[in-house]
Symmetry: C2
Subunit: 130 residues, 2 copies
DNA sequence: GCTTGACCTTCCAGTTACTGGAATCCCTAT
DNA sequence: ATAGGGATTCCAGTAACTGGAAGGTCAAGC
């Protein structure tokens, strides 16, 4: 299977797949013409990566997950820990963003948004408690 | 005022302040010894930047906001538009993260997390609908 | 057999917003 | 004179791609 076909099926751009090969996440063999010849196993790995990335796992965590996936003797506890840690990070990020959202949204509401210079947004950013 | 004092007051590391100078966000004059001599106006700018960054604005948006802040003839509509666009992006990010969180959290719940290899998390990542 | 266009390849550079580290200089106090 | 704690510059690295250039390959149509 050629790269564009794999890309379409896995939902990952060809460039990214080449990058994944470069950093050792996949290692498709080559045809005599130099083209990458993806096997089913490569395809499956890439689909796995696509989903893991969609859940926000870092590349390094994806690498670990992939290794666990391929290790028939893994302990599910290892997987779970990784996922839980990641979940915690996501929750922290959400909390940060929600705080930004709340502040920002109240500022936006308070701003007239007309052609006058008076602006609560800039005022709030400007009056620092030094 | 020396850089470490400014850093402390603005809540920005000295390295970051030097970086901000490098990209033209601030331009403190120099003492005869080559040290940056921050004026009050520099201090205020940095405090402004610190808050804008805390609200998640990109550096480029901060640059724009700073320019609007200093422009007495700005229209508040320009500020508001920028803030609203940013708010929209934040909301989108939150939505993405919430989806990740929900998926991840249900997977984590479903996983025993013991020493056996059976794992719904890996299973879910693995069974791609090709 | 040749051209055309769609693929494929590699390599280099750029993105965001810093951050770490090395080498060197400056100031103050003992 | 020396020791420490700052300050300076410059170089490199981070995460995860992405864009673009230069060039090789393949299948189809004439």
């Amino acid at each position: 299977m050629n790269i564009s076909e794999v890309a379409k099926r896995a939902g990952i751009p060809p460039k990214t797949i080449r990058y994944y090969e470069e950093i050792g996440l996949v290692a498709p063999p080559r045809d005599t013409n130099g083209y990458r010849a993806f096997r089913d196993s490569d395809m499956h790995k890439l689909a796995f990566l696509s989903r893991a990335r969609a859940l926000g796992f870092t590349i390094e965590n994806c690498r670990t997950l992939l290794a666990l996936w391929e290790d028939q003797d893994r302990a599910s506890a290892d997987v779970r820990r990784l996922a839980r840690d990641h979940l915690t990070e996501i929750e922290a990020k959400i909390a940060d963003l929600e705080e930004m959202r709340d502040t920002l949204s109240s500022l936006v509401k308070a701003c007239a948004g007309d052609d006058r210079p008076d602006c609560p947004i800039l005022k709030s950013l400007g009056d620092a408690p030094l």
